[in-house]
């Protein structure tokens, strides 16, 4: 297995559910290694690796594990509710390397003292639910899950749960609400799930990709992982590449790889690049200056964005930014959970104005009103969802505002000319 491809290395298995081939490739050796250590040693190893959560926020995984406290009844939840548009890396992992995720979960559970794990799978991935269940039963049969794993005193069971198709449930508190059968509303933090999560018990929520990198850290060592990528964001990363690009897909590269390098790896831009959205729909839309951005948590923050889920959507010069505005705002209006007023009503008005603009009925005042609206939403939305809309909206208005203004004026001219 090359250092440059951990997950994609396992993903080359002909049959992803063939546990024997997985083991032959070194699978579950991370779990063996972990069980030979104390839970605290495992946490310390993961801390030293510098692994940061791959769901979007980039919180240090080891710190999260360490912060679990209180009750002995604990849960581990694998967040597989991959809803960020342009993001399909977790799906790739679950489809091609399910055992890697199960192994990562078993190690995480051992380290944090969780007895039960849930994999919360996005509702739109029904085939993943089926294959995961089958992977779990194979792993149980082979002694890697269930009671007394590998003859140790450690027991851990995993159940699969299917989401109902809400974007907001990707937020860990909303996800836990959904798991408990409640509406997928985000909760206020604190208390953090690591203190009070599922049914009030300490709960770790980790992203699929995060968990899939855990076995690597155990087998190769924290230093090996930390030596890859950027100093503040070490390790490998899965990037979901789509849009006007020759070979869209999932690419595994070290953190800090530039947008230009990734575009080249994916066969190059189709046509002339105009814009690229990084980190998902809740990320900013950049112009061509983004080609030289190194893709890691710290560099992207410096560039005024966020690495987010590691999604890159390339757009060439054929794209009308008024339409990008419309699609983006409609997405948020459809996905707002509706719990808080600023987001519930704000997304609706933003989508309404963006729709008017895109359909040629826009007014220039809308642009200011959109900025005022996002100001209210950033100030008073309950959860990060309502605040994150500022990224795509403000970046569109700042970088492509001229184009949108001319589009509005042009449509007005055409209407007058038609009279």
């Amino acid at each position: 297995m090359s250092n440059m491809q951990h997950i994609t290395g396992f993903a080359t298995l002909e049959n992803p559910l063939d546990i024997e081939s997985f083991i032959a490739k070194g699978g579950f050796s991370g779990l063996h290694r972990a069980l030979a250590m104390t839970p605290l040693e495992v946490i310390s190893e993961v801390k030293r690796s510098g692994l940061r959560g791959r769901g979007g926020a980039g919180f240090p995984t080891g710190l999260k594990w360490e912060s679990v406290s209180g009750d002995d009844e604990r849960y581990l939840v694998c967040n597989a509710d991959e809803g960020e548009p342009g993001t399909f890396k977790d799906r790739f992992v679950l489809e091609h390397a399910p055992f890697l995720v199960l192994e990562g979960m078993a190690i995480a559970a051992y380290a944090t003292g969780a007895q039960t794990g849930y994999i919360y799978v996005r509702g739109e991935y029904p085939h993943v639910v089926a294959s995961l269940s089958s992977a779990i039963s194979r792993a149980v049969k082979a002694g890697y899950l269930g009671a007394h794993i590998l003859g140790s005193n450690f027991s851990f069971n995993i159940e699969v749960r299917k989401g109902g198709g809400s974007y907001v449930v990707g937020d860990e508190t909303a996800l836990l609400n959904s798991l408990m059968g409640n509406r997928g509303y985000p909760l206020l933090k604190p208390p953090f799930p690591t203190e009070k999560g599922l049914w009030g018990k300490p709960t770790i929520v980790n992203n699929v990709e995060t968990l899939a990198y855990v076995p690597y850290i155990l087998t190769q060592g924290a230093e090996a992982f930390a030596s890859i990528g950027s100093p503040d964001s070490p390790g490998l990363k899965l990037f979901s590449i789509s849009g006007h690009i020759a070979h869209p897909g999932v690419y595994e590269f070290p953190m800090g790889t530039t947008v230009r390098e990734l575009a080249a790896a994916a066969g190059g831009i189709l046509g002339n690049l105009k814009a690229v959205q990084i980190g998902g729909t809740a990320g900013p839309i950049f112009d061509t200056a983004a080609l030289d951005y190194p893709l890691d948590f710290v560099s992207m923050r410096k560039a005024g964005g966020a690495l987010g889920s590691g999604a890159l959507v390339f757009m060439n010069t054929t794209v009308n930014m008024a339409h990008v505005l419309e699609v983006t705002m409609r997405f948020f209006a459809e996905e707002s959970c509706g719990q808080c007023f600023p987001c519930r009503y704000g997304t609706r008005q933003l989508a309404f104005m963006a729709n008017k603009i895109a359909s040629g009925q826009g007014r220039l005042e809308y642009l200011d009103l959109m900025r005022d609206t996002i100001h209210v939403m950033v100030g008073a939305s309950f959860c990060p969802f309502g605040q994150s809309i500022a990224f795509p909206l403000e970046s569109l208005l700042d970088r492509f505002g001229d184009e949108i203004v001319s589009f509005i004026k042009q449509q007005e001219f055409l209407k007058e000319a038609a009279v």
């Binding site: 206020l188 707002s336 509706g338 007023f341 519930r344 609706r348 209210v376 950033v378 100030g379």
Partner: protein, 582 residues
């Protein structure tokens, strides 16, 4: 408990730890605006109006769900905060029908008042309406989701305080709607018509189903005799509609007002409260004699009755067969009163004035026709009768103390406390003790069963038998006791002899038809008013009421007689939780 000192708008204040910033500000005289927070409910932080700036922290925090910390420096009204609040209000108003002038909440709407307070003079957003049908299917409550601002108070009250769970959030984003499950209507749902959602709604999205027009018509009809009755809890609350204090007794003014409205005959539900006690005490003593079935559960609260029929059908044999005072008096008005005056019962329009939206449902139950016709034709809530009094231009506060009409209106102190949680139990004990022992009860105050506490218990020695009683208010509290009773039943035992259940917190004083605000604090003040009247009355035991004695002598015979059963008792039936109408 530790104290915390913090600075709000430059003013130092000290409050107990865990206090929210919102409450701390309130205590130092600063009113932070809110659309979803309510003093009686756990804050959820939905509206975002209550944001404040905490020095040294990024962004803004919701003051209703953020606890104070030592040394915090807080600003509650900066230019940017006002800007954001105005922005939220504009967003809400753009989605809200602009028909304030026709709205039942006009002048009492929390959204309207905040819009005024924050000078929302024009809307930059395009308005939109949801075009949803108005749900008039329930007997007591109208649900107009076009006006809903999604604050969630009704959902909290219905699910957490009442555990009826008739309504919940459905849909997402701006399509979120408060609705019964499966998109069914309130009328087909488990809704018990308690109206607690109505009294907590900040806008006009949930309100009582009005009967004012029909009542005016009846009053104006020269061929009709309008006979009315007034429930115990109305007399200590209606004054609030006219600027009086909660708990101020205004029954005399109400008698005068009803006469001034042109109502022909004014009786008092307090009379039939006494009657209920005599019948129910008799029923209780019979069960004591026959050793059960215990516990006997009171039946005055129609919200509880539907709740019991829906969720505890196995306990229906425990529920007293006595009708509620409203239905007892309704039946007597169209029989005894009609006969004694030589009037055809079809000429009578039987009207009751109730603190309750569920009473509208109760009056329309098919079995409530013991007189041969509807025993109660119309039910008006306290709020509706106040509207009629205002329409007629009557100066309520300065009315003279009027008197009701004889025959069915005298009452004891035991009757008036029916309006408070624990009142029915206390009244029943006063009578049951004397009927069972033949001795005079010296100490008539059963203070253990009084007050706003959700579940109250007491033991009373009746001639050597220890009677164990429980009193609950608010249906979540009823559930606690009912679950015990159901468990007892499965195990073939009983822990209580007698249980009083009132659907609403505090009892009828907090009913869904009472003046708004209908906060727990106001309910407590109204309760005090009722006990004040109880203490002031010459008679404090129901069976001593001379009109009750006369009623048995002249019309009913004895308590529990055949005629009493035909007119004053009823049966209950198990209900499906959801009835899907085609």
């Amino acid at each position: 408990m530790k104290n915390v000192t913090l600075t709000i708008n430059g003013k130092k204040i000290t409050v107990p730890e865990h206090t929210t910033i919102f409450s701390a500000a309130e205590q130092s005289g600063i009113s932070i605006p809110a659309l979803c927070r309510h003093e009686d409910l756990e804050p959820k932080g939905a509206c975002g109006m209550c944001i404040v700036k905490i020095e040294g922290q990024p962004g803004y925090k919701r003051s209703c769900v953020t606890a104070v910390e030592e040394g915090m420096k807080i600003l509650t009204s900066t230019a940017e905060i006002r800007d954001i609040r105005r922005g939220i209000l504009e967003l809400v108003l753009a989605a809200h029908p602009a028909d304030c002038l026709q709205c039942i909440k006009h002048g009492k709407c929390e959204l309207q008042s905040l819009a005024e307070r924050f000078e929302i003079r024009d809307l930059r957003y395009d308005r939109y309406t949801r075009g949803l049908p108005v749900d008039r299917s329930a007997f007591g409550i109208v649900r107009d989701m076009n006006k809903c601002i999604g604050c969630g108070r009704c959902v909290q009250v219905c699910n957490e305080v009442q555990t009826v769970a008739s309504i919940f959030f459905h849909g997402r984003g701006s399509n979120t709607i408060v609705s019964p499950a499966y998109g069914t209507t309130m009328g087909d749902s488990v809704c018990v018509n308690c109206g607690q959602c109505v009294v907590y709604c900040p806008v006009g999205a949930l309100y009582e189903k009005e009967a004012i027009e029909e009542v005016w018509k009846a009053i104006d009809d020269p061929d009709k005799i309008v006979v009315t009755q007034i429930a115990p809890a109305v007399r200590v609350a209606i004054g609030e509609e006219f600027g009086m204090e909660p708990g101020e007794l205004s029954i005399g003014k109400l008698y005068s007002a009803l006469k001034a409205l042109g109502i022909d005959v004014v009786f008092d539900t307090n009379f039939s409260a006494d009657l209920t006690i005599v019948e129910e005490a008799t029923e209780f003593l019979e069960r004591l004699k026959e050793s059960g079935p215990f516990p006997l559960i009171t039946s005055c609260s129609p919200g509880w009755i539907k709740f019991g029929e829906t969720f505890y059908p196995e306990l229906l044999e425990n529920v007293s067969s006595c009708k509620s005072p409203q239905q007892m008096l309704g039946a007597l008005i169209k029989t005894h009163y009609a006969e004694s005056r030589g009037i055809d019962r079809n000429e009578i329009v039987s009207l009751s004035i109730m603190p309750c939206t569920a009473k509208k449902f109760e009056a329309s139950r098919p079995e409530m026709c013991s007189s041969g016709a509807r025993d109660v034709d119309y039910v008006l809530t306290t709020r509706e009768i106040a509207r009629m009094i205002r329409q007629a231009g009557i100066d309520f506060r300065n009315l003279p103390e009027g008197t009701p009409d004889p025959l069915l209106s005298r009452y004891s102190g035991a009757a008036t406390i029916f309006g408070a949680s624990g009142g029915v139990m206390e009244a029943a004990l006063r009578t049951a003790y004397e009927l069972a022992t033949g001795k005079t009860l010296e100490k008539v105050d059963f203070v253990d069963v009084r007050g706003m506490t959700g579940v109250k218990e007491a033991e009373i020695d009746v001639d050597g038998t220890v009677i164990k009683v429980a009193v609950t208010n608010g249906l979540a509290n009823a559930r606690k006791i009912l679950d015990c009773v159901a468990e007892d039943k499965r195990r073939g035992r009983s822990s209580y002899h007698f249980i009083e259940i009132m659907a609403c917190a505090g009892g009828c004083v907090g009913g869904g038809g009472q003046p708004i605000p209908n906060t727990l604090a106001r309910r407590a003040q109204r309760i005090e008013g009722l006990y004040r009247e109880d203490r002031s009355l010459p008679l404090r035991k129901s069976h001593e009421n001379p009109e009750i004695k006369a009623l048995y002598a002249e019309f009913l015979g004895s308590p529990g007689s055949e005629r009493a059963h035909a007119l004053l008792h009823t049966k209950y039936r198990p209900r499906e939780q959801y009835q899907f109408s085609q």
